[in-house]
Symmetry: C2
Subunit: 415 residues, 2 copies
Amino acid sequence: MSLIHDMARAGRAALPALAAATTAQKAEAIRVAAAAIRARSAELLAANAADVAAGQAAGLSAALVDRLALDGARVEGIAAGLDTVAGLTDPVGEVIARWSRPNGLQFERVRVPLGVIGIIYESRPGVTADAAALCLMAGNACLLRGGSEAARSNAVLLDCMAQGLGAAGLPAAAVQMVPAGDRALVGDMLGAHGLIDVIIPRGGKGLVARVQAEAKVPVLAHLDGINHVYVDASADPDQAVAIVVNSKLRRTAVCGAMETLLIDAAAPVALKRRLVAALLDDDCEVRGSAAVQALDARVVAARPEDWDTEYLDAIASVAEVAGVEGAIAHIAAHGSQHTESVVAQDEAVAEHFLARVDAAIVLHNASTQFADGGEFGFGAEIGIATGRLHARGPVALEGLTIFKTIVRGTGQVRP
Amino acid sequence: MSLIHDMARAGRAALPALAAATTAQKAEAIRVAAAAIRARSAELLAANAADVAAGQAAGLSAALVDRLALDGARVEGIAAGLDTVAGLTDPVGEVIARWSRPNGLQFERVRVPLGVIGIIYESRPGVTADAAALCLMAGNACLLRGGSEAARSNAVLLDCMAQGLGAAGLPAAAVQMVPAGDRALVGDMLGAHGLIDVIIPRGGKGLVARVQAEAKVPVLAHLDGINHVYVDASADPDQAVAIVVNSKLRRTAVCGAMETLLIDAAAPVALKRRLVAALLDDDCEVRGSAAVQALDARVVAARPEDWDTEYLDAIASVAEVAGVEGAIAHIAAHGSQHTESVVAQDEAVAEHFLARVDAAIVLHNASTQFADGGEFGFGAEIGIATGRLHARGPVALEGLTIFKTIVRGTGQVRP
């Protein structure tokens, strides 16, 4: 444990300076890091090429190599992402509530940094810069643990972050990299209760599941995005088709993609057929209940486990349900509290769905693919949380803060 | 695990009905429970007398028997506490943020219940009613695990809560009692990740330490309240003495009590002597640094561990520090992020302290004993949290909620 404990203690020791840092100072650190990434792009690309070569030699899958590999455009994307974070509104110091008491005490609830944040991720080098910048902008220290396959790329990116911290006069321990390769260090991070304030895993389901199962430190994450679109009988047909196709097929591998379409049994048959055909015509496999199979010969039979499956692929489960209550019940049984959408012109139906469905994000007449910090207007996100504590939905700068209460008195003592 | 899992699943199954319950319904359940407690006070007192007799036979300490024992006034206090909770503002449904995006999407962040809350406590029967009512008013289900010494009293109180739930048409599984006696069940609660959303321990340091060390479920709690009052050279002497004496001695056993007094070395000697003498004259033992021993012959020498000790008794550690920076450094080294107070007429000194000290509650010219949900105007509290996630300081109804984001569109799909 001692390495992780030492790193976390160094991070904690940096917290007073980070909490006191001005917005301009934090932004400067991030902008200088972005400039360093641009200036050192040849060095970064060479390190990345060595990572890719080693990965290919070790038999890394093509998908993993794609996540790992950088080119000029991706390097510029990383740098531009940092510039975006540097321009975001600083949440630290914001007064989020103010009240007073009859005895004259004045209360202010003020945002402060969360503390030391552990980020555990896989082979994407961009996460190194992105996560570090978001943590820093909210005044936090971070311990980054990236995949060993990206170690050379990450070392260059970390050094660019260190350049930025140095230029802004902020402590180097604000952004630290946990050595890759030794899996026991991940376990040490997950158990560092009291030293690491929160762990944010960024990666596939296997990583998230391990982190959630083992962590004694609180975790902000989502495991599944089994998202539904419910099309009510009152839906505008064109709107319903557009939302369903976009929710499923705009990008199939994102956590905000629709996995299951729920169609009101009372909807016109023409609408039901159009919805199913639109998916099929766009090369999406449709797995349906018996009623849905009757709509189109191309629909294959859904197995029971399909209703609980996050495909992250051009496959959709489709069921008929008994109106909005049927949809709510289906989502309660099979949803993952991520993102759920209702398409309806009947406002009462829509409001009932929005109120009753338990999920981080509920939408009316809009695509589930808006489940994203950028689309929420947050400028960036460090992940999406489906837990019920602290933050929920896209987590951005505000989710990386907590508050303290300042009480101003004039000599009050308690009777 | 199966008993705790079954109970937690039953609690989760009750969540939709609880989330949909009106304020009036929840208040009715709590008021009927209060009325039942008053109506059945003879039965409750008899059960409690049996608990006390069994506890005394088993050699329970006098302090524990005092916490366990009820009388007519304490029963009325429990019932009146429920009536207070029933009259609090319902946080569920409150819109805490509203914004829109250029594409016309309308966003609302709305408070929703936290979910299933596990409360682990000791011998005070009042916690059964109080915790259940607070959880219920915020729309949550709770699993209560009280000490075995109060089992008979708790059974009557649980039955009164069940009467209230029944009268209001709310599910009985909203308030469940985990059988006392089997310590393994506490471990099961602490490990019920995904089924119990948060654990709130209410009791002594041993209980809190065990819960924090073992829990995989997030915990809202505080372990220590090593609170400081810093008296600056600019302090008003009368105010400083009143605040120091009240902070330490109003009640010594509460977590908001001052444990260490920090005096500005630059303060007038007369003020230093008055502060120390005021504590000593009020029968408070003073353990001081050499400089403080020189102020009054009654001061005993502080050992190094005194600066990290929560006495919860009429004992205070007193040190001289080099101004506000010295105080901030001492608190950073020895504080427990609970409650810290500065007494100063110099506003710049006070604001510097309030900004830089890392604690759930920071006060200016007021007693640390205001660290209490009632004194904050919350009407009640379920505990004080010193962690950095979700809630911090007194946790009341709002701390027992989370939010979801409602997005209203007009057919938007994502480009």
